[in-house]
């Protein structure tokens, strides 16, 4: 393997493709270097639940064959870029466990559209990534296969639920990963691990084949170490999918306006967010710094009000569990999934299989949803929560009459230690700044802006775009990135040779 190939895990997509085009290394060598890198460092991080060596080499062979015919440019925008997928994404021939005992042995017989599109765009599939069980969590601690460690501090969580996706990119194992976000599950681990993490507007990326948590809230998006790589990945996976009724006819080229800068761009700040109880000062300072940098680059900073954002948290903990309760009913030990052996009647088989197959947080959310949807209770919580959704959506619509993008914190704090937050309602606060975006269906992303002064850990800022105007936040992010530099591989894994 060439020296350059060994460096490929640290490269961005354009650098990999330049190397391939110059024949400095082959796609096979990129795949091999990535596999070696994962083998070397993942034991200390545990981002991967499954490494798909054979699928990686098969894809690399296709790309090398194309290169041999001089057709690299026909291989797609992600040609040769290693990519890994959150383990709630079906990929034919892989296990899709959702980090749950329930699906420990479930082998996907089909591809999620986002996975199929990424591979069709030339990405080399490296494996499946750890997560909170069924995406219920903000720390990846609820994975039944053990937590993922934050590459910046192995004693801390990577965030969640897409903790494996964020950690794999932050540790320089892959340049690209896909995650899913129901209340902050892409953006919060992006912030904790210091990588670019994009949750597009609801409907920009097909949800087909992604194991559902909250169907009206879930959205797939990319992790990367540069805004450009994230935008490239979004180009590859977005667009209408005839298999998902809620997917939009998006044809935007998300890389098109990244270098346009922010001169004249109106950027909103939400005073209520900046003064929120529980927001750590080191995080607030970073958001304020970002605002100053944007202003210096020519943007106008405007205060906007989101009066109903305070209700987003409770609306989310109504809607999410209700949809999850129904979505998780299919795990019943009949067609697939964990089946507790030895039962003579289906009822006890159901109850034992679901009690043992689901972890505590999954059980809690299913129970909560079952309660909230029951007769008499529905009108107290579920229906009002959907009305609150209307108000929150109107808040954003109103705010975006005056601004092009909104800047807020992602999470109230930096990555916490394992076991530090144990009660469910405190854990839920991790998502206090991200949830309203899922409720309204807007796009939101986390951009790393450096380290907090107290903890020295990565801090991300959240950029929020109007629905289906995701290019706005990517452009603002690119402007900030131009000043701050691209996201770094976590220091402990960035020294010397990539291996």
């Amino acid at each position: 393997m060439s020296v350059q190939a060994k460096e490929s895990p640290f490269m961005n997509v354009a650098q990999i493709q330049a190397g391939l085009a110059a024949k400095s290394f082959s796609a096979h060598e990129v795949a091999a270097a990535t596999l070696a890198r994962i083998a070397a460092i993942d034991p200390s991080i545990h981002a991967f639940l499954e490494v798909t060596e054979q699928l990686a080499f098969e894809q690399a062979a296709r790309i090398d064959a194309a290169i041999a015919c001089g057709r690299l440019d026909e291989c797609g925008p992600l040609a040769g870029a290693p990519m890994a997928f959150k383990d709630n994404m079906n990929q034919k021939g892989t296990h899709t466990t959702c980090s749950s005992r329930m699906l420990e042995n479930y082998l996907s017989p089909y591809d999620a559209t986002c996975v199929a599109k990424a591979i069709a765009a030339g990405a080399i599939p490296m494996g499946k990534l750890n997560m909170d069980e069924f995406a219920f969590g903000s720390s990846t601690e609820t994975s039944c296969f053990g937590p993922t460690r934050n590459p910046w501090d192995l004693g801390r969580v990577p965030g969640g639920s897409s903790g494996g996706s964020a950690a794999a990119v932050a540790a320089g194992m892959v340049p690209l990963a896909l995650g899913s976000d129901t209340g902050g599950s892409i953006r919060q681990p992006g912030s904790f691990c210091g990588v670019v993490a994009v949750k597009p507007s609801y409907g920009v990326v097909s949800r087909y084949g992604v194991v559902a948590f909250g169907s009206s809230l879930d959205q797939v998006g990319p992790f990367a170490r540069s805004v450009e790589d994230a935008a490239r990945a979004l180009n590859a996976i977005s667009g209408h999918d005839p298999l998902d009724c809620t997917s939009q006819h998006v044809t935007t080229d998300f890389t098109a306006n990244l270098s346009e800068g922010v001169k004249g761009t109106r950027i909103g700040i939400v005073p209520a967010f900046m003064g929120a109880q529980g927001l750590e000062s080191e995080v607030r300072e970073k958001v304020e710094e970002a605002a100053l940098l944007l202003e210096a680059a020519g943007a106008h900073i405007v205060e906007v009000d989101l009066p109903h954002a305070a209700a987003a948290m409770s609306a989310y903990y109504v809607l999410g569990p209700c949809e999850a309760f129904s979505n998780l009913a299919r795990f019943d030990s009949v067609r697939y999934g964990y089946c507790d052996p030895g039962h003579k009647d289906l009822g006890t088989q159901y109850e034992a299989s679901r009690a043992q197959g689901f972890g505590p947080e999954a059980r809690r959310r299913i129970m909560l949803g079952s309660y909230l949807l029951s007769a008499g209770v529905y009108d107290t919580y579920y229906y009002p929560a959907q009305q609150v959704r209307t108000l929150i959506t109107q808040d954003y619509t109103q705010a975006f009459r005056n601004v092009d993008c909104i800047l807020t914190p992602v999470a109230p704090r930096t990555a916490f230690k394992f076991g530090e937050i144990s009660d469910p309602t405190s854990m839920y606060l991790s998502d206090m700044f991200t949830i309203s975006i899922n409720i309204a269906g807007n796009g939101g992303m986390s951009l790393p802006v450096g380290s907090g002064v107290q903890t020295g850990l990565p801090v991300g800022v959240q950029l929020i775009a109007p629905q289906f105007k995701d290019e706005n936040m990517l452009r603002v992010a690119a402007a900030l990135e131009a000043v701050l530099g691209k996201a770094a591989v976590a220091p402990a894994f960035a020294e010397g040779d990539a291996l």
Partner: protein, 102 residues
């Protein structure tokens, strides 16, 4: 804190959700659920008179349909590949007590 659900309610909810819980789990679940339901109070405190619900945050899309055209599905082996138990091309389950479908 308000008691929204008691242990009996929790058992009923668990039975409906088909999750078998031990007595200790029922007790803990009762505490957890009351705690969470308490935190949902803001939802009940807004004046929502006349506000239409938004069930689908999809920008007003409607009537999404497909044509009546066949699409390749699974072979019998593929369909059954993940089945915990199977027999003669069918998924096999133990006896269903308590009667027929609703």
């Amino acid at each position: 804190m308000t008691q929204h659900v008691n242990e009996k309610d929790v058992r009923t909810i668990a039975a409906y959700a088909r999750i078998g819980l031990t007595q200790e789990e029922v007790a803990q679940m009762t505490i957890d659920l009351n705690d969470i339901i308490d935190s949902l109070r803001p939802i009940t405190e807004y004046d929502l008179e006349g506000v239409e619900p938004t069930f689908h945050p999809i920008g007003g899309m409607s009537n999404v349909m497909r044509e009546d055209v066949r699409r390749q599905g699974f072979s019998q082996d593929e369909a059954l590949a993940n089945a915990p138990r199977q027999e003669e091309g069918c998924f096999l389950i133990p006896a269903i007590l308590g009667g027929e479908s609703a």
